[in-house]
Each structure stands twice: as C-alpha cells, then as structure tokens.
C-alpha cells in the first residue's frame, strides 16, 4: 500500500520540479520557482522515507539516515549563508561535485546491496559510477581553479592528453563490461573497482587542462553530468523521480553548455580535445603604443557624456569593483546620463557571473543588457567603459581572420565614440591574444586597480 502512496508523491514532486524550472526561467518568478522545486525535493525525500524498502531496513538504518540528512543540512545551510558573492562560482562547482560523488557512491552501494542481477541494471550502474566520478573530480578541479588555489594557477598541459583520456575511458568501459558480464562474481567486483578508479582519474585529466576563460562552458558541462549521474542512478532501482529530475538537470546543463560554446564560437569538442595554442597573431607589423590618461582627465570627458555603457569582465570580479561601479552609475545618472551595462555571455567564470555580481551591488536587472541588445546602440554611445574585460571586446574577433578568436561574437565597444579601458597593467589577458582595441584612436587606457579608479571617478563627481 505505502508504495502506491510513494508513487503518487513522486508524481507530485516531479510536477513541482518541472513547474519550478519553468518559473526559474523568468526573472519575476525565479525565486518562487526555486521554492517550488525545493518543496518537490522535500516531498520526494519524505516519500522515500515512508517507502516499504526503507521501513524494512530497520530502525537503526532509519536513525543513520536521519543523522546523515541532519548533518548534511547543517553543513549545506551554513556554507550557503557564509559564502561571499564573489566566491559563488567555486561554491556552485563544489556543490556540483558533491552531487556527482553522491551518485557514484549510490551506485556502489547499490552494487553491494546485490540488486544488479541483470545486464541492464549492471550497465546503468556502471554508467552512474563513470559519470558521477567524472562529475566529482572534474568539479573539484574546477573548484580549485576558480578558488585560485596555487597548484592550479598555471595552465597545465598534458602531452598527448587525447590519447591518455581515451585510454582511461577505454579502461573504465572495460570495467563496466566486466560488471555486465557477471555482476555477482569477483569479476563484477573488479569491474566496479576498475571503473571507479579510472573514472575518478578521468575527471582530473579532462578538466585540468582547461583554462580559466573556458570555465563557464566546463561548469555547465559538469552540471549536466551530475544530473545525468542522478538519472542513471534511478535505473537499477527503477525509481522514476530520480530519472525525471536527473534528466531535467542533464538537459538544462547540456543547453547551457551549448549556449556558452556558441558565445565563444567554439565547438565543445574543440574545447575538450584541442591542445591550447599560444599566441598566433603576435607580430602584426607596427606596434602602436596605447594612449593612457589620468583619472582627472577621464572625469572631464565622463562629465560631458550623455550615454555610457559599462562592459564588465572577470577583472571586475577580481577587483571586487561592482559596488564602486554602482556608485559611479548613480552619480552618472544624477548627471543626466543614460547608463547601461553590456554583458557578454561568457564574461567571468560562470554563466551569468557578471549579472550576479552587479545584482549584488543593487544594479536593477533592466539595466543589464546582453551584447546583442547593446551592439546596435554602440555607435550612438558616448563612452564605453571596459572594466577588466579583454577578449569579449576584442575587435580582432570580427576583422582579423588569423586571430584564434576570429568569429566569436563580441561586445562592439570599439564602436563607441570614446572607449575607456580600465586595466591593471599592459599585457594580454589569460588567452595571450593581442587586443587591437587598446591601440585604437578612440581608446584611452586608465591603468590601475579598477576599484580604486572607479572610486576616484566617483569622488571627482562629488567634488
């Protein structure tokens, strides 16, 4: 009897997840959507707790389950409240890794519980281990890179990484075949161990070679993997709520990955498999020196401006300049100037990174425009202020076929009447690509810490 109640409850929670995700896609209802999906989760957990299998486990296992849930809740709650907004990308990566780890462990404990007697269960169980483990270690590496841990500072390249990754994948697949052939014997156990170890290593080797600027893509991809792992974990126990919600997450992750790839004009395959090339368009004849300007002079130009567009990039996050930018935005508006933000889809280190930072600084979301929305207005803009962005405003993407980023959609900041580039110093960004924007006639560099520069501009206005 109680199992029928469970199925009904699972249905309700699936519907709540679907409604939740739908509402999450619109700014006005997003918060409500998140609430819906959390209620769906609560219902799913309650219904598994009253299912016959779990009741049959006995009171000791019940106690253990409740303690584990309580512990996880406390840790998750504290973590989510304590984290700084600037630490958001790495936290999302870490949570994602936990999801992958959990799915992997679920598959292994499903194996020890002897529910894998047929080939289909064995196959899905093996796939859960593979995907979950890659999501786990991959996310850990992503977390390390995003948190700026020293050991991940340098871009690591593995010689012949495609062969190595393919080799590891073959070994993991071999392990899955072992599990399928004979789940209950020593061969099956060996298969589980081989798959687990190989997949954990694969997650590391796959992600460690990927540079910081490509992080938005890889985070979305890992998100998709952790969802898929959850979906596959549902197969051996025939649990539909796992399959449905895991699959929803998987699909959303895949779509985000494709959106991010498109925004960088890269294919996902090239990102994973190509070995990173260093500098290609370095020596292009005469090198012009970029013009630079003091903050005082910049203020005089800014004061006369009627329309200003900010183009933020990862540098704004590093300098934590978002609050100062909001102040400048306010004084500009008081001065009768129209202010907008042009946000490139891959600016920063995760999808939508800049939007979150600026929202934290109370910039209303109507002011946050996409590159597509702002580009047509660029020629009529008095000043574009580029803050810590580089490749996303690089005109070489439009007119230099030899550039590695040729074809990538950019924010056309160079079309503005005047361009201010706030930058810490000369030199190229993470990608090592020369940016002709910096030496264009309408461009002025303002060197220094972005936060300080912006604050000084605000002070100038107030005087």
């Amino acid at each position: 009897m109680s199992d029928y109640i469970c199925i009904v409850l699972y249905m309700i929670s699936c519907v709540l997840f679907i409604m939740g995700i739908k509402k999450l896609g619109k700014a006005d209802t997003a918060r409500k959507g998140n609430l819906y999906s959390s209620v769906g989760m609560l219902i799913a957990v309650i219904s598994v707790l009253i299912s016959q299998d779990v009741i049959d486990g006995g009171w000791l296992s019940y106690l253990l389950i409740v303690v584990a849930i309580a512990g996880g809740s406390v840790v998750g709650f504290i973590w989510s409240k304590k984290v700084e907004m600037t630490g958001m990308p790495q936290l999302v990566a870490l949570f994602n890794g936990f999801g992958g780890l959990s799915s992997m462990l679920v598959a292994i404990s499903q194996y020890t519980a002897d529910i894998t007697s047929d080939a289909f269960s064995a196959l899905t169980l093996g796939l859960t281990i593979l995907i979950g483990a890659v999501a786990f270690t991959g996310s850990l590496i992503a977390w390390g890179k995003l948190a700026g841990l020293k050991m991940f500072k340098k871009n690591i390249s593995i010689p012949g990484k495609n062969f190595i990754n393919a080799g590891i994948l073959v070994i993991a697949a071999l392990g899955i075949i072992f599990i399928c052939i004979s789940p209950d014997s020593g061969l099956g156990l060996a298969g589980v161990i081989i798959t687990t170890v190989a997949s954990l290593i694969l997650g590391v080797t796959l992600v460690i070679t990927i540079g910081g600027g490509d992080m938005p893509v890889i985070i979305s991809f890992l998100n998709a993997l952790s969802g898929l792992a959850a979906a596959f974990a549902g197969f051996p126990i025939g649990n539909t709520v796992l399959i449905v919600s895991g699959c929803l997450v998987g699909a959303s992750g895949v779509i985000l990955t494709l959106i991010m790839c498109k925004a960088m004009n890269k294919t996902f395959a090239s990102l994973l498999f190509k070995t990173t090339k260093k500098k290609s368009s370095a020596a292009t004849g005469e090198q012009k020196e970029p013009k630079s300007m003091s903050v005082e002079d910049a203020f005089l130009i800014l004061e006369a401006a009627k329309s200003v567009v900010f183009v933020p990039g990862y540098g704004m996050a590093v300098a934590q300049a978002q609050h100062a930018v909001k102040e400048l935005c306010d004084v500009l508006e008081e001065n009768g100037c129209e202010v907008n933000f042009a946000i490139h889809p891959v600016a920063g280190r995760m999808p939508g990174h800049m939007n979150v930072l600026l929202a934290e600084a109370n910039v209303p979301y109507e002011q946050l425009k996409t590159a597509d929305e702002m580009n047509p207005q660029m020629p009529n803009t008095d000043i574009a202020i580029v803050i810590g962005a580089n490749d996303v405003v690089n005109p070489a993407a439009i007119n230099d076929e030899s550039s590695p980023i040729y074809g990538m959609p950019i924010v056309n900041a160079y079309e503005a009447r005047t361009v201010f580039v706030l930058k810490r110093g000369q030199g190229t960004g993470f990608s090592g690509i020369e940016n002709p924007l910096f030496t264009m006639d309408n461009t002025v560099m303002i060197y220094g810490d972005a936060k300080q520069t912006v604050s000084q501009l605000v002070v100038e206005f107030e005087n």
Binding site: F17, I21, M41, L64, F98, I108, A113, F235, T240
Partner: protein
C-alpha cells in the same frame, strides 16, 4: 529487471530529456547562474537513491554498503540544502528598479 520495466524507464528518460530542453531553451542570460545553481540543487535528488540504497544494504546487513550509502546521503544533502539556499540568496538580489528616475 523485466524488459517491460526497462522500456518504460527508458521512455520516461527520453520524455524528461525532451521536456528539459523545451523548458530551458529560452532562459535569459542574466538568469544563467541561478538556473545553474538551482538545477544543481535538483541534481541532489540522488539523495532519494542514497536513502533507498542505505536501507537495502541495512536489510542485507552489508556494512560497507551502509557506510557508503550514509556518506552519499550526507553529500547529497549538502548539495540540496546548500544549492537551494544559495540560489535563493542570489535571486533575492535580482531587483527591479524601484521607481523610474528622471
């Protein structure tokens, strides 16, 4: 597992994947981060599998399985609770302009 059940589960999988694609494809870019962290919290649904697996292992007195299951429950819960609260914190910051300034 019987073939009927297998086919049914695959059916559910495909439909859910298609539904996911339809739901997500028109999300504005400003919501990408909350969407990612919100769906990330949903991927913690594996907690349901973890609870079921732990109980199954307990019924069979499989100590290793119980331990792994409990660890899985712990991490899945961190994923779920942390994910939902972080997403909520983010979404609470997205505000409309209070009054149109002139």
């Amino acid at each position: 597992m019987e073939m009927d059940t297998i086919m049914l589960l695959i059916f559910v999988f495909i439909i859910a994947a298609y539904l996911g694609v339809e739901l997500i494809s028109k999300v504005p870019s400003q919501l990408h981060t909350p969407l990612m962290s919100g769906t990330n919290a949903i991927s913690g649904i594996t907690i349901v599998g973890a609870i079921a697996a732990t109980a199954l292992n307990a019924s069979g007195n499989k100590v290793l399985g119980i331990v792994l299951g409990a660890i899985a429950i712990f991490f899945a819960t961190v994923n779920v609770i942390g994910g939902y609260f972080v997403t909520d914190r983010m979404l609470a910051m997205f505000k409309k302009k209070e009054a149109p300034k002139k």
